[in-house]
């Protein structure tokens, strides 16, 4: 175990250096694209944390991503030119005006019944704070209920799945304050002091790349704390952990919430680089896609799941630019997923670990058993 740690960290370092160097070889169009993929990478890491380390397969991670995205998008919407040019010195989102009742005051406080909820979002930092607070609060409440009730395995997945669909409907339905299907578009740029994060410039790329690096390293450190190790024990055998005296639901809820915070953070970064927030973030397909990324990259490896997400998206983008391949590519992704699930239950990250085992641990003479921990032992955790 300990013999592999330096190698793991070396891989993190290589990854960080690579993403930091990307601006040297890419034009602003690709840089913006890759920034989005790095955000997806962050989502992959969030999935690995909850699925691989906590044993909680969240099929509704899009809920937290969407929550983060909408919170910041509300602030950026109010900062946009289109909101400021409404014949008032106070910003009002354009879609609220289009749909306002005749004679309604053109003020954020009261243009419609719920528009006052937008008031505090005039401060960008309130939006940022809410982008973390809302996902964490949702995950905290959901986790407390679900894990205290000892719901586990596939039932948690079904609950998360149902919840993301429910919230998606609510968001679409709350058209007067969310702009329904169309989502929030025409956003202003994120600002820190005088620095404006135009999505197509290098500093914006670095905002994402540095954020991702910090998230990866923190998540990795977190799972190496005592709490992180106990969490893995909980994943392997909840009851055993309970009878050793651990308050099992507190571990599950905490890490579920951390995973949600990462997804919310990713949602905010996505809004900065893509300039919109939409209910599609809470589509079922998107949440499932995240799980596929993590499965291919390796759910038991934070870095592996992150790289899986980036790799799949980079390949997708390249391939779908080739005429006629776009449709076939979807089938290829599906096929890769099936093959990985069948033959590489721990994904590419797991494969890398095994190779390291074979070459490093063997050489040191400790590895007659360079066997893989197969899917059976990890699934038996439920």
């Amino acid at each position: 175990m300990s013999s592999k740690r330096p190698i793991d960290w070396a891989l993190y370092a290589v990854f960080v250096v690579l993403i930091m160097l990307a601006p040297l070889v890419m034009d602003s169009f690709w840089l913006n694209r890759v920034a989005k993929y790095l955000v997806y990478g962050m989502l992959g890491a969030a999935i690995a944390l909850s699925w691989g380390y906590a044993g909680i397969l969240n099929l509704g991670q899009g809920l937290f991503f969407g929550a983060g995205a909408y919170m910041l998008a509300m602030s950026l919407k109010l900062a946009s030119q289109t909101s400021l040019q409404q014949g008032s010195d106070k910003p009002v989102p354009d879609f609220m005006l289009w749909n306002a009742e005749p004679g309604a005051p053109t003020e954020l406080c009261c243009i419609n019944k719920a528009s006052f909820l937008w008031l505090p979002f005039q401060s960008q930092w309130f939006g940022v704070a809410m982008g973390l607070v809302l996902p964490v609060a949702l995950a905290g409440i959901l986790g407390t209920i679900v894990f205290r009730k000892r719901i586990s395995g596939v039932f948690v997945s079904i609950i998360t799945l149902a919840l993301v669909l429910l919230v998606r409907l609510v968001v679409i339905d709350a058209q007067p304050i969310t702009n329904g299907f169309n989502g929030l578009t025409d956003l202003g740029w994120f600002k820190v002091g005088d620095l404006e994060f135009d999505p197509y410039v290098v500093p914006t790329y670095y905002l994402v790349a540095v954020s991702l690096s910090l998230v990866l390293v923190s998540a990795r450190l977190l799972v190496e704390t005592r709490a992180g190790i106990i969490l893995q024990a909980v994943r392997d055998d909840q009851n055993r952990a309970r009878y050793l005296g651990f308050d099992v639901p507190s571990y599950q809820t905490f890490f579920f919430a951390v995973s949600a915070a990462i997804a919310g953070f990713a949602g905010m970064l996505y809004v900065i680089v893509s300039e919109f927030a939409s209910p599609t973030f809470m589509d079922l397909t998107f949440s499932i896609t995240m799980v596929v990324w993590a499965a291919v990259g390796g759910r038991s490896s934070i870095l592996g799941a992150c790289i899986g997400a980036i790799l799949i998206n980079v390949i997708s983008a390249t391939v779908s630019e080739t005429e006629g391949f776009a449709e076939a590519w979807k089938a290829v992704i599906g096929l890769i997923f099936v093959l990985v699930v069948l033959y590489l239950p721990r994904g590419l990250g797991g494969l890398a670990h095994d190779l390291v085992d074979r070459f490093v641990v063997r050489k040191r003479g400790g590895g007659e058993r360079a066997l893989r921990v197969t899917s059976t032992s990890s699934q038996a955790a439920e």
């Binding site: 704390t225 106990i230 994943r235 050793l244």
Partner: protein, 249 residues
């Protein structure tokens, strides 16, 4: 007379009309090793479930020394000083043997208290000793999933020893073991004698003879007899209860 470590007073559980444990009253002294005997379905495992909080009792009380722990949450009962080994061996399969024991050495129940690195020097010492005692020092860096059945059972015993509870409940610690493995297990259990109060469920009479002081026989959820090995073996009620079964005594 030693202090009483565990007091069970009229404990019952009703599974929709079926009383798997029915008015069991018994006391176990501090440092004692008590064997629970009984045919399949006599209620031995259920009794342990009731003591450790896995199953909630419908009447009766359980005391750990002077603290009533009846129907507390499992992890609180564990923190109060009750450790338990399951009939089906359960360890943390994807963690190494050493990691398993380190987890057990951790004294803080909640997540926030454990947001720090390392388990400390005390833990290291304890873990080394326990590895020695359960004979898994060489396997310490192996993932627990690769251990043999016997080794897994010893690792689970090791978890309990590391946890260091006042009372250890062992449910069939030698189930599925070879003779040699059974013997090694009795050495480990004998080693714990005196340091912990131990309650063991066991069918294997050879093992019982190696470790037993006092035996309590359960039958149909009730206490049938209590005494030392010889008294139990010659007790007519016990013989009668086992008549027709293959007579494990």
């Amino acid at each position: 007379m030693a202090d009483t470590a565990l007091t069970i007073d009229g404990l019952s559980v009703d599974f929709e009309g079926f009383k798997a444990v029915n008015g069991v009253t018994m006391t176990v002294d501090e440092g004692e090793l008590r064997v629970l005997l009984g045919a399949n379905g006599a209620g031995k495992t259920t009794l342990m479930d009731l003591i450790s909080g896995k199953t909630k009792s419908t009447s009766g009380r359980v005391f750990l020394h002077d603290t009533e722990i009846t129907n507390w949450e499992e992890h609180k009962i564990a923190r109060a000083g009750v450790g338990r080994k399951f009939q089906i061996p359960s360890v943390f399969k994807e963690l190494t043997v050493r990691r398993n024991l380190e987890v057990a050495s951790c004294r803080k129940p909640g997540v926030f208290a454990n947001l720090r690195f390392g388990f400390g020097a005390d833990a290291k010492r304890t873990v080394d000793q326990v590895l020695e005692l359960i004979g898994l020092t060489e396997e310490q860096n192996q993932v627990a999933a690769y251990l043999s059945h016997g080794q897994t059972q010893w690792l689970e015993l090791g978890l309990l020893i590391t946890q260091n509870p006042k009372i250890i409940l062992l449910d069939e610690p030698t189930a599925g073991m070879t003779q040699a493995e059974t013997h090694k297990t009795s050495v480990i259990v004998n080693n714990l004698k005196g340091r912990h109060t131990i309650v063991v469920v066991e069918h294997d009479m050879a093992f019982v003879r190696e470790i037993a002081e006092r035996i309590t026989v359960l039958h149909l959820g009730q206490v049938l007899a209590e005494g030392d090995v010889r008294e139990i073996e010659t007790n007519p009620k016990v013989r009668e209860a086992y008549l027709g079964t293959k007579g494990i005594l």
